[in-house]
Symmetry: D3
Subunit: 329 residues, 6 copies
Amino acid sequence: MTERPPKERGKKQSADGEFRPVSARKVPRFAGVSTFLRVPTHDDPGDVDVMICGAPFDGGTTFRPGARFGPRAVRAASALSRGYNPSADLDLFDHLRCADGGDIACVPMSIERSLAAIQARVAQIAEAKALPVLVGGDHTITLGALRALAKQHGPLGLIHFDAHSDTFGPAWDVDIHHGTVFRNALTEGLLRPQDVIQIGIRGPFTSANDLDFARKHGLRIVMIDEIKRTPDAVAALIGAFGARGKCYVSFDMDGVDPAYAPGTGTPVPGGMTSYEALFLLRQLVGASIVGADVVEISPDHDPSGNTALLAATVLTEILSAVAKSRRAT
Amino acid sequence: MTERPPKERGKKQSADGEFRPVSARKVPRFAGVSTFLRVPTHDDPGDVDVMICGAPFDGGTTFRPGARFGPRAVRAASALSRGYNPSADLDLFDHLRCADGGDIACVPMSIERSLAAIQARVAQIAEAKALPVLVGGDHTITLGALRALAKQHGPLGLIHFDAHSDTFGPAWDVDIHHGTVFRNALTEGLLRPQDVIQIGIRGPFTSANDLDFARKHGLRIVMIDEIKRTPDAVAALIGAFGARGKCYVSFDMDGVDPAYAPGTGTPVPGGMTSYEALFLLRQLVGASIVGADVVEISPDHDPSGNTALLAATVLTEILSAVAKSRRAT
Amino acid sequence: MTERPPKERGKKQSADGEFRPVSARKVPRFAGVSTFLRVPTHDDPGDVDVMICGAPFDGGTTFRPGARFGPRAVRAASALSRGYNPSADLDLFDHLRCADGGDIACVPMSIERSLAAIQARVAQIAEAKALPVLVGGDHTITLGALRALAKQHGPLGLIHFDAHSDTFGPAWDVDIHHGTVFRNALTEGLLRPQDVIQIGIRGPFTSANDLDFARKHGLRIVMIDEIKRTPDAVAALIGAFGARGKCYVSFDMDGVDPAYAPGTGTPVPGGMTSYEALFLLRQLVGASIVGADVVEISPDHDPSGNTALLAATVLTEILSAVAKSRRAT
Amino acid sequence: MTERPPKERGKKQSADGEFRPVSARKVPRFAGVSTFLRVPTHDDPGDVDVMICGAPFDGGTTFRPGARFGPRAVRAASALSRGYNPSADLDLFDHLRCADGGDIACVPMSIERSLAAIQARVAQIAEAKALPVLVGGDHTITLGALRALAKQHGPLGLIHFDAHSDTFGPAWDVDIHHGTVFRNALTEGLLRPQDVIQIGIRGPFTSANDLDFARKHGLRIVMIDEIKRTPDAVAALIGAFGARGKCYVSFDMDGVDPAYAPGTGTPVPGGMTSYEALFLLRQLVGASIVGADVVEISPDHDPSGNTALLAATVLTEILSAVAKSRRAT
Amino acid sequence: MTERPPKERGKKQSADGEFRPVSARKVPRFAGVSTFLRVPTHDDPGDVDVMICGAPFDGGTTFRPGARFGPRAVRAASALSRGYNPSADLDLFDHLRCADGGDIACVPMSIERSLAAIQARVAQIAEAKALPVLVGGDHTITLGALRALAKQHGPLGLIHFDAHSDTFGPAWDVDIHHGTVFRNALTEGLLRPQDVIQIGIRGPFTSANDLDFARKHGLRIVMIDEIKRTPDAVAALIGAFGARGKCYVSFDMDGVDPAYAPGTGTPVPGGMTSYEALFLLRQLVGASIVGADVVEISPDHDPSGNTALLAATVLTEILSAVAKSRRAT
Amino acid sequence: MTERPPKERGKKQSADGEFRPVSARKVPRFAGVSTFLRVPTHDDPGDVDVMICGAPFDGGTTFRPGARFGPRAVRAASALSRGYNPSADLDLFDHLRCADGGDIACVPMSIERSLAAIQARVAQIAEAKALPVLVGGDHTITLGALRALAKQHGPLGLIHFDAHSDTFGPAWDVDIHHGTVFRNALTEGLLRPQDVIQIGIRGPFTSANDLDFARKHGLRIVMIDEIKRTPDAVAALIGAFGARGKCYVSFDMDGVDPAYAPGTGTPVPGGMTSYEALFLLRQLVGASIVGADVVEISPDHDPSGNTALLAATVLTEILSAVAKSRRAT
């Protein structure tokens, strides 16, 4: 991101003097007001490199609701988060000033008003040259982010982890819901179809033509079998995104098997293990990530809390890749 | 209901020969497709006295969603339901042919379309001279039922069990949600305010004027203290409804204390015990009930299943009162 | 075991020096192999005043099974048990040498073999002049105990806490199950019907004649309303048992409301509070108790563990009443 | 029912137009009375290709009971089921008219009466030339199905997924329970031993001779290590069943690791992942399947619901293989 | 508190302009970083009337640990909190500027260091003339608060809700733990024994002399029976505190029955209902409260979340009483 | 262990005649007082080959406490344990007389006193020439065992399964806690650093230098990637321990992925599967194991019980390896 003028580090600082996690050797991990990754809350994206916001909206959910409590659960699970990634060999917080930007005020009864609020906040963050990262919420929220970012950056590439391609048709005549967002995004011209990869897709499907839209637009669909049988080839596909322009990363927790992430709205057996997901996320190094999200965390269906903890770890892996990419430049 | 011509009992019967529960001495309670109170599924309200329908809608929920799974949970909990009520000294199924009318197809993203679907189904049932009974779903669904029934019967009385009066103002500019339905109903002229009683109301409230609307319209608010300190006086208030014209019964599970009904969207400590609730429901005998519902059952917050079981028992008590009233006439 | 010399009351002894709980000030309550009330395991009833045995049988359950794990759960919950009862003003362990006699080897597929095993063990304990106390298991197990004790003592009185009278007819042509045991016992002549009291009974019932058998035999049925409205009168009924000969105490956890005891096979809303149950149990002082049980603890339906903890407290109350009665004599 | 004219494959029909799932785009997945795979309930197997019945029996369970609620849980989890299988490239419901035949009335206290009821229902379905598919219930139920089907078809081959070979000896002198059924079946001559494959078996075992019976009869035991180390070879073993005559498929959920299927009676760590199980089930294409079951789903031990969801998916995979095999013929 | 000079309202304000909850009609209750009662976080007690701090310490727990997560759970449950108390007829936030002061950095391995940290923070708050309110944590934390407040105010009165008197002796030679704190406080001269009332105490106890210390010092022990049988007399006892000087309120969640508050370390059946507890707390109006806490919230044992929700409501009731007392002066 | 004189088998026997599990064909697995692996309780290590003791201490936990209940949960889960290991082709109980030695009386408030108690008990067992096996408790307990065993045997090798290397620095100036024990042990000279292998380690870490201590001392760290990509090479590393002198095996449950073992204090996504863990444990055959433990089982975070069940299986695998090694000698 050479086009980005360097921010003046430390110009505006949190109480602890820096936009990094509170030290667990000073304040125990179980203590304190919960924030994403234990970083300070802060409103102004102009002061940071990364602004993580909750998007507590589940009004686009077609089956089990509850993802509106996703941000709260990920904040709590973040208590265990750490910053040094041995595979990347860096502490992401040495390279990225991170803040918790709070939650975007969504309206559970209105998809459009919620998308507008998300779009506005993401646009503000992006315009301040910080990286917007969202914690959902159901997958509908991604459309708000893509609308903001495509307006600023033009059509984006997409690295999308999910059990579903989310390019499906309307349900009950509702055209935008959590299973349609990438059809909506493609139709609105927010994505570069040839630079879209969907990872972890698996059936059974509702009908034979479920993937027709995705295929017609030339999206690269990585079915779960590819991940299980040729993981390194899939890793290479992701790694190749370094040369493919600006892109967005969207991680739907149901890409992972329900054994690892039961707390989600529409679980599908036969998915990735947590190791496979984290391994693939590590291949993001080099990609020009202009926004990211992790969505479909539904705490009421997560008796062990594993889903929220994995979501926090997914956040960390994405940010580690961003940090490593930036260090390299 | 003297205006109602007697139906020919048994004219049209279910496979088992009658619209009553499958005998637990023939089919174990844990077996079989779950229906409300183990009665047969049936579509045509013209064949029955009572049609129980699910209204799986939680799109009006302002806090914890999940009530869309209420009907499913109450059907499952109904496995334990029985028909003979010792306090009424009758088996409700000897007097009421009951069917499970299935679920009304609600659209989680649209309050208005869902209310319209509910209104249509309730109108059809009422026009067939059967008693419509709904299982929610969040409290928003009641507005659909009241719209149908007031059109047929004129403004209704209301016996309303709840922690909240649900006469609050809009939230986030949304005028109809689960906390506004009785304000909406009063504004639309669906209720006779002087014949509205709200039982179990308790604070803390959001603001001092939360009950202003209710008070201005002259609703009778029975705060929880009245129930605790003078239960027989409250019972008498309900018993007096026998002389007050057609009425609707709406039972929000959060009227009961969360110890008894944790599985609800907006629990409030300090409520009724299950015994108090059932005792008060037994006072409904004599009332001209033209519709009823039990709402705000959220199974994801009901680890023991107690809430759904109590909701099924509430259904049984209401129907027992109806049966006893009809036998008396 | 008539050859056995009379026990020297209070002459405390044994491996750990005494048949009383391990001191929690020496060994933390969370530590050690779990036994009932933290008393030592011991095989020979000749050495003790009270022998508590598990009867892990749920093969007589008509709805939710799982009570076979009741003894294990009550042992674990017993970690919190204590011996000094302020209402009785005594430490039961100062007066009763208590042991955990282990579990009776029941066969889940055979009611008759399980009852035979229970009968044999209870007979052995009773013949050794120790008090047999069982932890169930479903209510079927009580029949085994009554068979043993009536053989030794003649027909017994019964103080029975329950939501159901358990005098129902066969289900699916099975004549003995957890809902029939007191009909079986009465038919077999094991009880003195005029000295049977059933406390906490409530509907709805399966049919109007559910209580016919109980009424025909003159059992005293205390419906839940009596407990709620005239608790002292109910207490007096129990207190009067001091003058009514040898009796058995059977406590079915579903006598208590599911809010207090969700972990049971056939919960019925509208029951006793824990306080009401414990208050009534304290009235047992003076009764000639020759055996007791607490049954229908189903840990898989007890997410908070409250049911097992209450069952352990019920045990303690019964034993306190026994201790106080003996001290008085 | 030999008098029944041959069915016209694919000529879709019925009340809701056809014996296929209710469309989720018309009726939300969370709505409606729960049936297996959302197909209609129907009694007469003569009208369909596949009849799925619950067999809610857990009276043969030696450890944790609760599988009697398996059918109910699988019906509920079926809400998420879909019909188009990308690996088979077909929508199973285009090829198979499927109905939910309700539950077989089992008696929890009687293995023999329950087996007789199962045998009768399976025989009726098979005689109507429909495919009987059972949802358990504990593994004992399979014996009832095999008795019916071997009577009609002669001894069968068996493709059996499980942690245990279930060829063990009696427990407590009970000769038929959920750990003995394949010994019983072999002894009764219901299986062709050389065409029996048991997949996922693993220890520790109770004793060294646990597998002696299985080995003596020449069953092909695929230990878990084979699946982990040479999955394609195991796939080939299953694929070879196409040439081995009529066979039965029995899927015990404990074949899968408890991380994926905790809700089962006797879990064994170290098992298959859900992906491995589904991958192996896809190799069934070509086999002459005359009956199938999925058993040992115990909802009380399934806090996330994953086990029931996986069981529903297993059902779908088996039916997809059947559909593909039939299309091919 | 006439001695307290009025603070200048609004002198220093939060982002929303005031130290009161974020409006739920602007920001949904499920959204945003969780704070106690949705009030702003703030460090300086000089700016507010009430400073609520978490004391996440459970190192004094003798049985089930986990109360270190109490503050986090109460913050989350606070999402449902409201300020207008109908019984007091006021909105507490109109009278009290409240802030969330974050958590006090306790060290789980050191009772003394944790008590010192608590004492220091409470002293700082009290010196700033704000009311310190703690959310535990186990009951040990109260000793830290009392040490700070007695130093400033002299020995205090105490209104203590609990199942246990917490005046017990050492365990395993540890002299300060969660069951000893009021013995410690009395020994250290921090309390005025004649102005100590302990409410909700009940057995069974470990030994007959468990209450000896309390009785010797003349504490007023209100056993549970008094609350159940003469609630108005107990209310009067509390109400009389208005004339008894400065006092501290300590609410141990296990004072309430486990049906209402399962999420606690040492539950005791037979306790208060939530209504009884809230009713008694309302009698605090008039008392000179100089500090308060609610302790022993153990979220891992609180499957429904009821305990944390009730704790948040207890906080609100205490603050309402304080607000009403101040308005009166 | 050629230096060890053979014990006289059966010289001192349990009631059942042998130090092996109660037969599940005599006593059902759900029945009886729970002991580790269903072996008898026994105090004197001189009579057995293996003495398994609980070490219910979690006072060294920095995040989620609760491991003090680990021994209780593992005892209960042990109900499913079996002794014949097909991969080792032996029944461990044919070779090892095993007893449950009860729990070591730890003091939750004192790390040093608890370590001293553990050290004393382990020393006593080891001096009696029995193998000490501990069930934790948090990882702190291992230090007590190592202190005892190194005193007897000199510095030990270590085979350590974990997500964390537990060589971290002090937290909050506390030098010994569950994240420091191997640093403490190395500093105290209890281990031979070149013979320490740590298996399953993975990030993210708190800081880049988290592993510095481990690396400086030359510990062999097997990151999770090695296990996933070259499992046979890792197996060989473990297998090589046969030639490396006396060693200790420590298995922290968080080495396994939270999907398999959610019930632990500091879970880390991306870990071993249960199969991988068991496969690696089988490579211990041949090693000179002088002590072992399985730690960090936190039942309150283990809703399915999988963690305790896996811990019991880990115990069995370790003992099978010991048995096979001894048979070989």
